[in-house]
Amino acid sequence: MAGVRGRDPKVLFRKSVMQVVFAAYSVVVIYPMVWLMYTSFKSSRELFANAWALPTKLHWENFVNAWRDAQIGSFFFNSVFVTMTTVAIQLVIGAMASYALARYRFKGNSLLYYFFLAGLMFPIFLALVPMFFLLRDLGLLDTHTGLISVYVASGIPFTVFVLTAFFKTIPKELEEAGFIDGCSHFGVFWRIMLPLAKPGLIAVAIFTFIAIWNEYVLALVVISSSALRTLPLGIANLMMVEHYKTDWGSLFAGLVIVMLPTIIGYAVLQERITKGITVGALKG
């Protein structure tokens, strides 16, 4: 069909205009990042002298400074740990609750559902201040455990929202077949329902991952030790430090280190992520 349409000169003209628009926007998206990459090899003085120019000499020390002095390496692993733990816990407990809400009829079911959902409407800023106190009283201030607890809790409304919708679409017969085969309630959940809900779980996992990986405000409040910082905290901090040291090269290098892993990860998992987003949004 495309071939037939392509021969029409009017369509051809329109297609070229479109092509230009699309190409222009991809420059808008890609060029700032490319600029960032090659600027990260320049010294501050070079940057100011000519913003466009390629580096005259590769200042690898920018990367060394960012990795070593600014501890970007250690922040990276903190982020991996916090994010993956959060995603795992959230999937398990979120799926369990959603399953019960979707598949069992009981008094107060919808009340409970809306109780969970209400969390979607609260701005996180409202909780910041009392959160200090709570975590302090529990001895969780400035710990990864504290941060993960808060992350898990804050993600539950969304998880329940998406997964409940998912579990509701699964035909009842499958469940009943499981019971007839002698499965326990948990067995049915684990062996039958969870695999069926896999697209939903993946969607939630990806959403949660992106959200937690980039989260800044809660981490700012909970974490105060530099050793425990996550990447967004680390990069914001690096920006402030470099502002006083006039060493922009290291800041750019730090940004590159932060961006590269996710972009590579995306390039590899591209199809999956796209599908996950689609599933999550359409069901949710």
Partner: protein, 292 residues
Amino acid sequence: MGKGQWKVIALFVSPAFLMYGIFMVYPYMRAFYIGLTDWHGVSARMSFIGLKNFSAMLHDPYFWNALKNTVFFTVTNGTIVPIIALFFAVAMSRELVWGSRFFRITYFFPNLISVVAIAVLWSFVLNPDFGILSNFLRLLGVDNPPPWLGSVKTAPWCIVAVKVWAAVGFYMILYLSALEGIPTDLYDSAKIDGASEWKTFRHVTFPLLGEIMKVTVVFLLLNGFGTFAVVKIMTDGGPNRSTETLATYLYDNAFKFGKFGYATAIAIALFLITFTLALLSIRLQRRETVQY
């Protein structure tokens, strides 16, 4: 519905219930009390002052200014992003452009970067001296490009642009997948009727996207209402409060002026507005479903 079922339900629900109850609901509830105090947030001393924070808010011109800016970011975010994203998505799905796979991948890049990194990156892009935007304009012969983040006229639009830049790819993919669900025979019959591309969009595509459009717009509105990190890092609310949002204003009140009580009162106001917005949208959607 045996009696044992209650045990099962309790077992399944309680982990999520407890985590959510302790680390979300409880702090929120407590926040409502803090909003009624004059707490400074550096020691335990706080006294109950009733609704004073709220009456102060009504008379606080900066609060109204922040609200105005927030509404601006909300509206722009909720309109510009879906329009651009939809434009790209439709053009791709109707095969009006070559290489859509490449664009699909690259346009999504900004969504992979943390907002903090985006804000830092764009502060450099928009730098009036060495930033690439100003230098590009100079190449084109513009002598005095505006100081972008340094002027009340341009700064709010720069924030909007960055927010749009960061979000478009994500929504484009959403719309694309929704469009893929539209049966091709609908397009074919439109083509037989001799409908133009615009007419096809207007009468076939758009109506079928109703549901997803509504969901995404509500989501974008909420997201716009909570605008924080981009502003905090790029302009810190300036110049002259022209980009200050409710979220940054309450953050400053708490962490800069030490007025935690007042800040919490602003947070409550922010919540009430968000809540109303969300409730309204649920209402709207329910009505749609009934018609269906």
